[in-house]
Chain length 420, copies 2
Amino acid sequence: MLEKISFSEMGLRVQEPVIVDLMVRSLGNPDILDLAVGFTSNETLPTEEVSRALSLLAEKTASNPEYLQYGTNQGRPLLRELTANMIAGFANEKIPDLSHNNVLITNGSQQALYLAAQVLCNQGDILFVENPTYFVFLELLRGLGITAISMPTKENGRIDFDKLSLVIDELEEKGLKKRIKGAYFVSYFANPSSRSLPLEDKIAIGLTFKNKDLIIPIIEDAAYRNLYYKHPYAACSMLSLPELKDFPILYLGTYTKPLASGMKIGFGYCNHKEWLNKLLYVKGHHDFGSANFSQALIETFLKEGWFPHHLQRQHEHYGRKAASFHQALIDEKFHEMGWKWDKPEGGLMFWLRGPHHLDTSIGSEFCESCIEEGVLYVPGDLNIAERNPKNCIRAAIGTMPDNRLREAVHRLATVAKLFL
Amino acid sequence: MLEKISFSEMGLRVQEPVIVDLMVRSLGNPDILDLAVGFTSNETLPTEEVSRALSLLAEKTASNPEYLQYGTNQGRPLLRELTANMIAGFANEKIPDLSHNNVLITNGSQQALYLAAQVLCNQGDILFVENPTYFVFLELLRGLGITAISMPTKENGRIDFDKLSLVIDELEEKGLKKRIKGAYFVSYFANPSSRSLPLEDKIAIGLTFKNKDLIIPIIEDAAYRNLYYKHPYAACSMLSLPELKDFPILYLGTYTKPLASGMKIGFGYCNHKEWLNKLLYVKGHHDFGSANFSQALIETFLKEGWFPHHLQRQHEHYGRKAASFHQALIDEKFHEMGWKWDKPEGGLMFWLRGPHHLDTSIGSEFCESCIEEGVLYVPGDLNIAERNPKNCIRAAIGTMPDNRLREAVHRLATVAKLFL
């Protein structure tokens, strides 16, 4: 009889993600169409390039195959250089003192989020997040005992800076202003909203926080920036904005989404030396360096100049899927049923807002009916710090082919009709 | 001018590992011989097998190249099954209810150590460790604010269970017994001691803790178990011992050391469902799954039956190096200079114990002289929770060829002669 364990506070706090429960329950239905899982498409994975990259590596390092050996904690220097240049290569970027020394390579950008939260926040500290925001980030914050607070939004989904100022005032009145340790933005073709953060909003972020004497670390999550359909989003990163030049900024990106999710390689670019060092020290404890092998392959991929062509294939693929999904929503009369959504210009997500009275949360009648009908989604409330409102749906379009995406929309519509 | 950051307690606590400072300072000397870095040998990396594995994967999954796609948080089922069977395949193993459901795949076994510490310990909690023990584990515990306490050892390096009972009594008197949250053992060809934990000691661990009514989680780190030179070490894992059947056990292993460190894939086998789940929940926050690509390659490697042959190559390689290093120590008169060491029967480490008066710590005259002479080692005190004694050295033999290993010993001897 195994002894019961007396777990740490954190051990007690962490629970099975509710989304796992949803997925496990849906396993009974082999025909289920999964709009919940944020995978990329298997169709556009760079299989040939990866094989070619390995051949090149094996050839070039025949006498010293360092690509299969441990690398460094911070990541391969050339990969970091190519990464810094890739970020700086977007239109309108003017990153001061651009250097590969500011880059760290991580196990997907997810790990960088975890590291950032660990070194910034004690239990009970506060991070500002968007509404909606990336739901796994909300989960990891809960695991660490950190409080996420949504920045208020306007009807059009953009941040309401006047109200944000009021929120800061309220926190100050409660003696909580000093617990605000940072702010998190998913700024390009966001998961889940599909929106991008306009330049003027980035500038307003700086002004608003500065006005409140709150020059806090900013995490800019640009995981989907490369996955535009037609054009990159025009706004530069926060790293390049003079209005934000006093702010410690950790800009995150990834090679998992646009290149190969199976390699799980992401990156951070940090303009603040001390913060970067803290991230690296904790990474040294997590794993002392992300897989050097994956890094070497991606480095080769970039160095050989294969990335632009590969991205073009991705852009066309996801652009076509998004158009098809959007059209299916129109054809299935979602507008007429009182639903709203933006047509994404990049990324893998649709953020569907149902009628106000609707409850899409786990265990809701709507959700149960969808499982019965054979379609899965991520309930919108999981993407919102306060778990409210509950009338939205995150639908990911990465994995399924067009015909199945259209069938998924049809099943959603079948259920939506019952909840008018 | 960038704003100063108000870091979390953890962010404040983490510091640059002292060993980094040592390495950076030695960069000035391009001829330095590095006995500090625990890398494996580039000579025995399975370059051909990895290329073949990728070809096989690409061929078999041509229409659905899932190996480049995200995997699951827990790890590939077949890899977990092959891993469970690999552990169970060692002589004398009788793991109750063996199942791949008890396996989790991690970013090296390092990540499993981190996860285990996170879910077991609050700040100020206590973990028992060996003396000496794996120094990166000590560092990560410091980062998390966890107190490591060395279990007392006898002159021959084995755990002194009578004294351990006294240590537990003392902690109880101080009201700290309830803060003891687990015990950590590196049980096969250990880093750094090169020793293995005898069966009778494993049994005594169970008896000693049980006598003190302290049935705490045990972490058994078997990272070097596959790297024996002639024969696997005979003792079974703690998972198989009836005397430990009440104890929650997390057994750790890795494919980095014996297969390819660049892939950074390790694993844990946990006999305690709730503990395993907690580890998985936090892993979901860290990265929601280790690189599926590396996992798929290693899975292929195992499935195709290439592992035994590859291991044999490793055994011969490291056995030869260890014999050569051992002989060099004898030839350079280390015994006569009052040094002691065990001749390893596996692993990558020599644990050299100098004369009692010697101080090998960072900044010591001995250490500085070694850097000047062109040889680096890990100071022994870094491998000991209490940073005492200071007369030992961890020498890793994985990377350098024989002639350089012998030259490194010669340089060490040159310095040792000055400190008789």
